[in-house]
């Protein structure tokens, strides 16, 4: 399902950019990313349909974070090409960023601001609609603690604020890089809720996690090792 019905004004800009080249959510062709002399991604081909929930698994150093970094446009491919949400990785970076949310290892919060102030700040940068801040905080169970400084928050509470930030925007593509790491069950449930909500409105989700108890909403699982997409050893060696 196309996410064109989203209420986010940023996603309904009247001027359709000329960099739109295709309609799948993610399309990568022989993407390689090298750090120094170390290849982190090696000739990765990947297609993800709009509305799909994709689970990415693999050991540490498999290239999962690099893959998500490329999709989020924080890392440029060394070789290869691709598009995200129809926009080329090299020329459509700004358009991709307007439509995508990344929840990664860092929660990107300011420690000396309260959760509410953090969300208002990010909401103002992403379009100025701060009216969703209080409902988003309530949705992740942080309404009463919203005026406390983030410095005093546990990792789980911080991740719930990051989830609330994603709820402000209704992104077309949600990228999650080990979002369950170090979280208690309540915080994990918030992340699951965000994935379910995002999938329910037809947006695309790419989830990279080690946690074998999570990712139940995924329609497809991708296994990575040494920077390559390989057959999943847990699925009897079947190719994804």
């Amino acid at each position: 399902m196309a996410p064109s019905s989203t209420s986010n004004a940023l996603l309904t800009a009247p001027n359709e950019p000329s960099t739109s080249i295709e309609d799948s959510a993610v399309s990568l062709s022989r993407v390689t990313r090298i750090f120094g002399v170390t290849p982190a991604l090696v000739r990765v081909d990947l297609e993800v349909a709009r509305g799909e929930v994709l689970l990415v698994r693999g050991p540490n150093g498999a290239g999962k974070s690099t893959l998500l970094g490329v999709l989020a446009t924080t890392l440029a491919p060394t070789y290869g090409s691709g598009s995200v949400l129809g926009f080329a990785l090299d020329r459509g970076r700004d358009q991709i960023r307007r439509r995508m949310e990344l929840i990664g290892h860092h929660t990107r919060l300011y420690e000396d601001l309260t959760a509410r102030e953090n969300l208002r700040f990010w909401a103002s940068l992403f379009g100025g609609d701060t009216s969703r801040v209080d409902p988003a905080l309530e949705a992740v169970g942080l309404g009463p603690a919203g005026d406390d400084r983030v410095r005093g928050y546990s990792q789980g509470m911080r991740q719930r604020v990051a989830v609330a930030r994603a709820l402000l925007r209704e992104p077309e593509l949600l990228l999650l890089d080990e979002p369950y790491a170090g979280l208690d069950e309540e915080a994990k449930a918030s992340v699951d809720g965000l994935i379910d909500e995002t999938a329910a409105r037809g947006a695309t989700v790419v989830l990279a996690t080690h946690d074998p108890t999570r990712g139940g909403a995924a329609g497809r699982t991708l296994y990575m090792d040494a920077g390559r997409i390989v057959p999943d050893p847990m699925a009897g060696g079947r190719a994804p």
Partner: protein, 224 residues
């Protein structure tokens, strides 16, 4: 969201963090005071010599203290990966630069007031005479320092940069500010403020160049 609003949001956020963290009050101001006292002790008790060197010591103390302020303004961005959020935000990255420069400039203005009072007390220096020229030099120097510091301060968060990269880049580049500021202040304190126009003009030129350069190249530094 307009460019001005984006820059305003960045500046307001930085100032709020600064006020909450009291970094300026707790670190930068004591550092500047310590420098001034050390300079004074190293020069000795001669009153006339202290008064002659006071403009140079004043600007040196401000320059070194400014470097601390530049680093602090990006420390908050690195604490939990917030800088990545600014990279990914769909805003003009020049607004990030100008917002940060505005916030740093506001902090430096407060620092100037404290340091001027300190210099006046320590070195028995009268700020009368051409005080308008002193104020103009301080404000123009503040803008220039804030622009240079906000431009290169982002490098402190680069995984490839070393901690010393900011002072190594900022201090040499700030030499024109230091020189012009010292000259204009010296002339003003000697009652010759009318002759300081050229030095103030140099400060204006420096401000224009580095504000323009930062607006153009900041995005590249941020993305790298």
């Amino acid at each position: 969201m307009t460019f001005v609003r984006q820059a305003g949001a960045i500046a307001a956020k930085d100032l709020r963090i600064e006020i909450r963290g009291r970094h300026g009050l707790g670190t930068v101001l004591p550092f500047a005071a310590t420098l001034l006292i050390a300079f004074g002790l190293s020069i000795g008790p001669g009153r006339s010599l202290l008064q002659r060197t006071a403009p140079g010591l004043l600007w040196l103390a401000m320059l070194f203290a400014s470097v601390l302020a530049f680093r602090r303004t990006y420390e908050a961005e690195g604490e939990d990966g917030a800088l990545e959020g600014l990279v990914l935000a769909p805003i003009d990255k020049a607004a990030v630069f100008l917002g940060k420069a505005a916030a740093v400039a506001a902090q430096l203005v407060v620092l100037w007031v404290a340091v001027l009072l300190l210099v006046s007390a320590l070195f028995d220096l009268s700020l009368g005479g051409d005080v308008a020229v002193v104020v103009a030099a301080c404000l123009l120097g503040t803008v220039g320092l804030a622009a240079v510091g906000s431009l290169f301060g982002v490098l402190t968060e680069s995984p490839r940069a070393r901690e010393a990269v900011v002072p190594l880049l900022v201090l040499p580049l700030a030499v024109p500010v230091l020189l012009s500021g010292v000259k204009a202040t010296s002339l003003a304190l000697a009652g010759l403020g009318s002759q300081a126009g050229g030095w103030l003009g140099l400060l204006v030129a420096f401000d224009v160049v580095f504000l323009a350069a930062g607006t153009i190249v900041f995005e590249h530094l941020l993305e790298d």
